[in-house]
Symmetry: none
Subunit: 154 residues, 2 copies
DNA sequence: ATAAATTTGACCATTATTGACCATTGCGAG
DNA sequence: CTCGCAATGGTCAATAATGGTCAAATTTAT
């Protein structure tokens, strides 16, 4: 189907492949003009196809010389453990589940001891001062972005 | 990179590196001429990139023989880290302030690059899915516990 | 028919650039 | 000495250049 969002997605993934590294930088307005769509559609594509669940990190800056940078998290390079663990997190996670995952990450030496301590501090229920439906969701989100940060090898 | 401010920032940081000490002295008009911008843009760069939050002090003098001196202030490496951290982070902190602190910690090699990326991921407003009065407070809290986790090692 | 995904646009936020006008300092001419 | 000017740097507000959010409208899939 001639779905613009999909075209944009493919275009960006192509750029990622071509660029030697694992990231591309682009301009929102320029891209939008190129695809003859409104700029906010770029945001739509980014949030639906290039989010952390899909293994991407998006950074950006506004103003003069602004940009959008899309970074691919190279999960494959770390082999099975990293991928499995990343998927394990899910939409919600409680503290002890999170701690198990962190323990495993440390055992597999995918993160250092210090990093494990940072992870534990963040997923601690006392750090996440929220009531329960939301706390587990925030914890899952934070765990995922922390994993993404670590697996990101820049 | 169509961003003069960034070029000027890099230029000054280069000068700082090259000069043995931790300070450089320059002339506003001269610099502005060199980069073909208005003199006040130098002030813009100074106030956004070389302020105390970023660990710099700027001194200057007007009139004949005027100058601008930029001095880099290193973080205290001794004393109780917890106290210093608490002072730095406070009860609430926005994303850019947090990022500045993280950048400094990495520059001072108090945390590794990977750790800095974890920190950044956690303090990102998109990771902390909360509305604004509480988001800054949660961010401050998380930053504090992460720093505590790292400095606890004694 | 309903739900989900996509497309649009109005309005918002952040960062950079520019220029008019202001302040301070040093140095000569009287 | 003192006054005045040349040589510096400072402030602030307007404008430009980007990107972000949110929800309504529309299209597509179930």
């Amino acid at each position: 189907m001639a779905n613009i969002s999909e075209l944009i997605e493919r275009y960006i993934k192509n750029l990622l492949q071509e660029s030697q590294g694992d990231s591309v930088e682009l301009q929102r307005n320029e891209l939008a003009a190129q695809f003859k769509c409104v700029p906010s559609q770029i945001n739509y594509v980014l949030s639906t196809r290039f989010n952390t669940e899909n293994g991407f990190i998006v950074e950006s800056r506004r103003g003069g010389g602004g940009f959008i940078r899309i970074v691919k998290i190279p999960l494959e390079q770390h082999g099975d453990p990293a991928v499995q663990i990343y998927r394990l997190v899910g939409e919600e996670i409680n503290q002890s589940q999170a701690e198990n995952i962190i323990k495993r990450l440390a055992e597999e030496e995918l993160i250092t001891l210090r990093e494990a301590q940072i992870f534990r501090a963040v997923v601690d229920r006392n750090s996440l001062r929220l009531e329960l439906p939301w706390r587990d969701s925030l914890r899952a989100n934070l765990l995922r972005v922390m994993l993404a940060a670590v697996f990101r090898e820049s």
